[in-house]
């Protein structure tokens, strides 16, 4: 094929660059069972470790006897805190500035806590060994309610109380009670109080955003292999942030960082569950050092649900004030945050409640105040998953419920109330009352498009008729129209305000162009299903003019990939995607000089055109990027080093602010409490769209998570701190059967500060979806006086709402 006969459109199409629904290159292996997950790793002589876990939520440990366990054939060792203490590894730092027991140090603080680590020749012997370890517990009073935790004399963390009984400051300032972790404030307290005191209309509402869990298809695990000859530790694992894990392992183990190689192989879903550092990692490393053999640890499903990174558990109370016409004047939010036994969130250091201060949402609210109290209870630590450390999901749920509640108080249509309070297009960049600067948005356009697409007025008319019919006894089904308009804050983040444990949250890309015109790019992020190998190649294809099919994307091996903070919080595209574009531009700049030399013109006399540099005004004179790549390596060019490589570390100047407008139409069987989703419309604006097909897939996935959380998924505890939902029988994981058909739509409002204008989309549908499903349930009962009822809206809770409203009489 000759370049001369190709049209420009053909050349653009050949690149499969940005905007192309390129098929995912990963899927060839995933759909054939050829993925390589951590449990697929098998090394010579590899041992298997697993935990003895506490059956109690709060207890003192009086003895651990491993004698019988060590007699079990195949069991080699049983590690306890006493074994780790001489190494200083019986506790480890959390990503939130707290510390966490690796193995129970005298007591346990939640059911399922790691008590001892049994190392055996295989996982079957380990399981038998676990059964044979004898642990004596002395039960202590269990605190599962954070409000009670702040009043009780029961101290959960004796390690955080001084010998004289005083309470030292925590990582985030003064603490007022032994079970108190932090108080965090944002905004203006007194000014907000004044606005609320003088409000024409004021509504107060409390809501509980329950504890849940993302339940990734693959659970957490690792393989640690210490090579005692060369002193090098290799750690394969389900890590969403492999470089951060390397640094943390180095800091806590004392092994120099160059002697640690962390590898994230294929990861079967993360959702934040695989961000944190877990006792399993530390114990596997120690066990490998002790035995000199590789040691594997893999959670089972119950371990995963009960002990690693949960999401939410936020008790939120809001006050919102407005004029009689519905213009919002002030917002107050108080949160009691249940963090469990240790504060193991992964929030940026300066934000112990993440970006909860995005809780003014998409609205122009002049005055606001937020206060968050973090509290210890006898529940599992975590608070990372499902966007949880960044708390955007909580914030959006809060404001989207408060707006609905205000609409009820005002007797207004909730869509109209949103419309009159949206930040206007011309107000961007918009400085919000709680501190963030929104980069760009066009909310009114998106809202109008959404409402028109679903025939909003028609839905309301149908709903009114349904209420009539219900009252007349003609139907037992009510109809809800759920609305949500969300503004996300993603792309953490600028080093000036985002770091985790002092690690700046930049990200990186390193590109090598091969002489024949193909390339490899390595990034500091790691895909867990998002399709990075597909989309990052598309960004590069557009930037450097080589086909995406000729570009390999590699992530996850700290020995080869440049340092980066990993993948979570929808940060890969906003941060690493930007680094990719910037590195690509460095390649292009050098290519321009080479092209000019080859074409015998000045550098400024050539310009980039899709896949080549052309002489300005003489498009028949050009050098393709493929030709330039060859020349870069094989032709002596005066003043230019051989080779064509670039690296970029990108520190974003600001966060990005994707947004969207969602509508859910739901029918509710009042007698059984069964909701049926008739329609779900999702308009997402994630700025520049790299791969529309992948965006659609991410939206479908996130909406399905949102449906699960809103309609049934929870980690529930009884009063004794027992997990009631520790298996998939009771933990709701939707299948194709429960999932409705989703209609996706979009507008495009590029980020002005991002090199390609992209904002990130991974978590938008979860963030916007949960309030949308929840608002649909609420809306169905609005005509009968419902103002607020807590999620998850499972059958019995919906039934209870109907029952309490007298609809069964």
């Amino acid at each position: 094929m000759k370049d001369e006969v190709e049209s420009r459109d053909d050349r653009v199409a050949n690149l499969k660059g940005m905007g192309c629904s390129r098929k995912r290159v990963e899927d060839a292996r995933f759909t054939q069972g050829k993925g390589n997950y951590v449990d697929d790793i098998k090394l010579d002589g590899m041992l298997f470790g697993d935990f003895v876990r506490s059956p109690y939520a709060h207890a003192r440990i009086t003895s651990i006897n491993a004698e019988e366990a060590l007699k079990v054939p195949g069991v080699l060792a049983v590690l306890t805190a006493a074994d780790l203490e001489p190494l200083g590894l019986h506790w480890m730092p959390t990503l939130a500035g707290d510390k966490q027991m690796v193995l129970a140090d005298g007591k346990v603080l939640f059911q399922g806590q790691e008590v001892a680590f049994v190392v055996a020749e295989d996982r079957f012997a380990a399981a038998d060994g676990i059964e044979a370890v004898e642990v004596e517990y002395e039960e202590l009073p269990v605190i599962v309610d954070p409000f009670e935790a702040m009043k009780t004399d029961v101290v959960l963390r004796e390690d955080l109380v001084a010998d004289d009984g005083s309470i030292p400051d925590g990582a985030h300032g003064p603490r007022t009670h032994p079970n108190h972790i932090f108080t965090w404030e944002a905004g203006e307290k007194e000014a907000t109080q004044q606005v609320l005191d003088n409000a024409e209309v004021l509504v107060e509402e409390s809501m509980y955003y329950h504890r849940t869990h993302p339940c990734p298809l693959e659970t957490c695990g690792c393989v640690a292999s210490m090579d005692k000859v060369n002193g090098k530790l290799t750690l394969w694992g389900t890590f969403q942030a492999p470089h951060a894990i390397r640094t943390v392992v180095s800091l806590i183990s004392g092994i120099e960082e160059h002697n640690i190689r962390v590898v994230s192989p294929d990861i079967g879903g993360g959702f934040g569950n695989k961000v944190g550092a877990y006792p399993g990692y530390v114990c596997s490393v120690v066990a490998s050092i002790v035995t000199g053999k590789p040691v594997k640890w893999i959670e089972d499903r119950m371990d995963n649900l009960m002990t690693t990174a949960f999401a939410r558990d936020y008790h939120m109370t809001g006050k919102i004030s407005a004029t009689k016409e519905g213009k919002i004047t002030g917002l107050h939010c108080h949160v009691t945050a249940d963090h469990g036994g240790f504060d193991a969130c992964a929030d940026p250091t300066k934000f112990p409640a993440g970006f909860m201060n995005i809780c003014t949402g998409s609205y122009d609210i002049p005055t606001a105040f937020l206060e968050v109290d973090g509290v210890y209870t006898n529940k599992a630590p975590g608070g990372v998953s499902y966007r949880c450390s960044f708390r955007v999901t909580e914030a959006v749920y809060f404001i989207e419920r408060m707006v609905e509640v205000l609409a009820i108080e005002l007797g207004m249509d909730a869509a109209e109330l949103r419309r009159i309070n949206f930040i206007k297009k011309e107000q961007f960049p918009y400085k919000a009352a709680l501190g963030w600067e929104y980069d760009s948005g066009d909310y009114h356009t998106a809202w109008d498009k959404a409402l028109t697409s679903v025939d909003y007025d028609g839905l309301r008319a149908e709903q009114a008729q349904r209420v009539e019919d219900f009252k007349a006894g003609k139907t037992r089904k009510l109809m809800g129209v759920g609305l949500s308009f969300f503004t996300e804050i993603v792309g953490a983040g600028p080093v000036k305000n985002c770091d985790i444990l002092g690690l700046g949250m930049f990200d990186s890309c390193e590109i090598r162009i091969h002489p024949t015109g193909s390339a490899i790019a390595r990034l500091g992020t790691i895909s867990q299903g998002q399709g990075h190998a597909t989309t990052f190649a598309q960004i590069l294809a557009s930037e450097i003019g080589l086909p995406a099919d000729s570009i390999t994307i590699e992530e996850g091996d700290t020995d080869t990939a440049p340092y980066g903070l990993g993948t979570y919080g929808s940060r890969s595209t906003p941060v690493a995607g930007a680094a990719t574009a910037m590195a690509g531009r460095k390649i292009r700049a050098k290519a321009q000089m080479i092209a000019a030399y080859l074409l015998e013109v000045h550098d400024n006399d050539v310009e980039f055109d899709v896949d080549r540099f052309v002489v300005k005004g003489a498009p028949e004179k050009f050098k393709t990027m493929k030709e330039i790549a060859f020349a870069a390596y094989n032709q002596a060019i005066p003043g230019i080093e051989p080779g064509l490589e670039a690296v970029s570390y990108y520190d974003p100047p600001n966060m990005t602010y994707p947004f969207g407008a969602y509508v859910c139409v739901m029918d509710i069987d009042v007698d059984t409490g069964v909701p049926e989703i008739r329609r779900f419309y999702a308009l997402d604006d994630c700025g520049t769209r790299i791969n529309p097909m992948i965006i659609e897939g991410q939206v479908h996935g996130g909406l399905t998570e949102a449906l699960a959380v809103a309609l049934g998924q929870e980690i529930a505890y009884d009063d004794m701190g027992n997990v009631k939902t520790g298996t998939l029988m009771d933990f709701f994981l939707p299948t194709a059967w429960e999932v409705p058909n989703y209609e996706t739509d979009h507008t495009v409002t590029p980020s002005p500060h991002h090199p390609i204008g992209a904002k990130g989309v991974g978590e938008s549908p979860h963030v916007g979806g949960v309030p949308c499903f929840s608002n649909a349930v609420h809306d169905a009962f609005r005509a009968f006086g419902l103002r607020q009822t807590n999620m998850p809206h499972d059958h019995w809770r919906i039934w209870k709402t109907a029952n309490e409203l007298g609809l069964h009489d």
Partner: protein, 284 residues
């Protein structure tokens, strides 16, 4: 989620199964599809030192229909049940119920015999078999005996089957009239919040016979004689429905779990029963 060690047997003759059961008594269990037993072993809630797989026994996966009587081998899967044209014609409620059990993957493995013999109150087939007045054939050291489904269940996981007996087949008299299996569940793969099996006969606009059984609303399936009786002689009008519901509610004894509290379950049981009766009546 790894079971304790066990010995695995795969005999080809029922005599050998019985011999193993005699030898090991309480320490041995037979396994059909394994969908209840294996999870319990993995959770170490059940320790079975001697596990006897019935897959290789001939003749347990056959379906016979003759003289108004259906005989379903214990190893017939839910999938087989769903796809058997003869059964669908003779007792369509079997297919309607089986389609509401779990998902296709489970139904490929899950068997009729395992479902009825395990005694799990959450299983759908026991209530269905009570509704259909089925008889279970048990084989033991002393030969064969039959037990009516309505007499089989004693408590959760406790049945009339002796430790040394194997349930080998289910016999069902071909049902008459309209039918319905109505089930409310939280999601695919879940046990019922409440489920009702109804067979009903209509003559001249009146109900002449009705059989009603409920699932997962007590520690056994509940065959409600009174609920059926409440419909007989009526035109299955609102009053009759209410009487049947009231009778059924007198027989069930649900407990609170993650599906909801007792009041909710009773309410839903009534709604589900009414819907089942209405659908069955419309088909009668």
């Amino acid at each position: 989620m790894i079971p304790a060690a066990f010995d695995y047997y795969r005999p080809t003759k029922m005599d050998d199964v019985i011999a193993l059961l005699k030898e090991h008594g309480d320490d041995a269990r037979v396994m059909a599809g394994g969908h209840s037993l294996i999870p319990m072993m993995k959770l170490r809630m059940a320790e079975i030192p001697h596990l006897i797989d019935l897959q290789a026994i001939d003749g347990l996966n056959e379906i016979f229909i003759e003289d108004g009587q259906m005989t379903i081998g214990a190893m017939v899967t839910q999938h087989d049940l769903i796809n058997h044209a003869g059964l669908e014609a003779a007792a369509p409620i079997l297919r309607e119920a089986a389609l509401q059990i779990a998902d296709p993957q489970v139904r490929y493995m899950g068997t009729v015999g395992g479902n009825v013999a395990n005694g799990d109150p959450g299983n759908d087939m026991p209530g269905l078999m009570q509704c259909l007045d089925a008889t279970f054939l048990l084989v033991g050291p002393d030969g064969e005996r039959s037990v009516a489904a309505r007499d089989f269940y004693e408590a959760a996981y406790m049945t009339a089957r002796e430790d040394e007996e194997v349930l080998t087949s289910v016999s069902i008299p071909a049902p008459q009239g309209g039918y319905a299996y109505e089930k409310q569940k939280r999601k695919i793969g879940d046990y019922a919040t409440a489920a009702a099996a109804v067979q009903i006969i209509k003559e001249d606009g009146k109900c002449t016979a009705a059989s009603i059984a409920m699932t997962n609303l007590s520690d056994t399936p509940i065959y409600s004689v009174d609920a059926g009786a409440a419909l007989v002689g009526t035109a299955v009008d609102a009053a009759a429905l209410n009487a049947a519901k009231a009778a059924m509610l007198g027989d069930i004894d649900p407990t609170e779990d993650n599906r909801g509290p007792v009041a909710f379950k009773k309410h839903v049981a009534g709604v589900i029963l009414a819907r089942a009766i209405e659908r069955a009546w419309s088909r009668a």
